[in-house]
Symmetry: C2
Subunit: 205 residues, 2 copies
């Protein structure tokens, strides 16, 4: 839930109005995240967003359209948050480390077991939903571009030695982050996750 609180904090709402569309979108996102796409009914959405079925439809379209908007919104938020973490760190390596530390902090609590809304959606709907497949690919590419830039800026040894390209190391780091997400959901302890993060980051030495 932490990331959602941060999402809410980071949103600039242009002007006050009776109905807060962005807030409703985040409520829908939370519901889809918790229950999955198929298990979430229009009735659930209507109840949680406190909108009649027809207002829900007028505001967001059908369930699938709302889900895709929520997934795109989540993707943009995670990418901007990751970019910010990398920018604000004292060095590119510290930035990469911070992304792993933030993830490891989810061990044994709801943040970890909730998992990642993108992974949940990919697991549930790829490859049979072409739109989710497309969103997942562009999320994966955008995340890897951020990591590859950090790897270039860090001038890490495997790249300097010509053993790996920044893109290969970025794919490796992205894959490791996804794996840790599943590890957290599979009941790993903080000690286990810390060890996995440490071994992963040694590949940059």
């Amino acid at each position: 839930m932490f990331i959602l609180r941060s999402l809410r904090r980071s949103i600039t709402i242009p002007r006050p109005k009776a109905f807060d569309r962005q807030k409703a979108l985040i409520q829908a996102l939370q519901l889809f995240w918790r229950q999955g796409y198929s298990a979430t009914s229009v009735e659930d959405l209507s109840r949680v967003l406190q909108l009649s079925r027809s207002s829900l439809y007028d505001t967001f379209g059908d369930k699938r359209t709302l889900f895709l908007e929520a997934l795109r919104f989540y993707s943009e938020q995670v990418i901007s948050r990751t970019a910010r973490t990398l920018q604000e760190a004292p060095s590119p390596i510290a930035g990469i480390q911070a992304i792993f530390d933030e993830l490891a902090a989810g061990a044994g609590n709801e943040r970890g077991t909730m998992g990642c809304f993108m992974i949940n959606s990919v697991a549930e709907l790829v490859p049979y939903d072409p739109d989710v497949t497309k969103i997942a690919l562009s999320y994966s590419q955008a995340f890897q571009r951020l990591l590859a830039d950090a790897v270039v800026q860090a001038a890490v040894q495997p790249v300097q030695r010509g053993e790996q390209t920044p893109a290969q190391l970025a794919a490796y780091l992205f894959s490791a982050l996804q794996g840790i997400r599943i590890l957290l959901k599979s009941g790993a302890t903080r000690e286990q996750v810390d060890a996995v993060c440490m071994i992963t980051l040694q590949s940059l030495d």
Copy 2:
């Protein structure tokens, strides 16, 4: 689908009978794997297994009971298959490499995008379903025990040097395998996956 074909081949059916319960279980598993738990209705199961609703109930119990049996069956099959891969390899390191190679072969085809039934189920149902959470934990532990044994037998350098324990390296390898599963679903190419496998396995040097 490859793993399901192997699952079918590896099954010893005790005696021929008019109704093949194991075959029906595998059909249910395939359906849950493809559609997810929530999106699979009793009607779908009844149609695919060619059983009336009452026969379905008499044979497997309700939808959730059938799902849990399918997930436990999948878990056992993957664990035995992994144990076999490790045993049949010319060396423990070659066995670990073979597990990664097998996964990488799923890049760009249905085997890769179908993903892993366990990960799909974990993403969809953990932490809110305590039985799935329990099955996922014991799958994760059994898989990591196999990897830890292989790491011990291989007497890998990081363990010899006292930098990591076999259990830590096993958690790292397990996490990497889960990450690659998600990477495959997110549209990674064979070249990208091969690079990720290579970098991962370098941590054993």
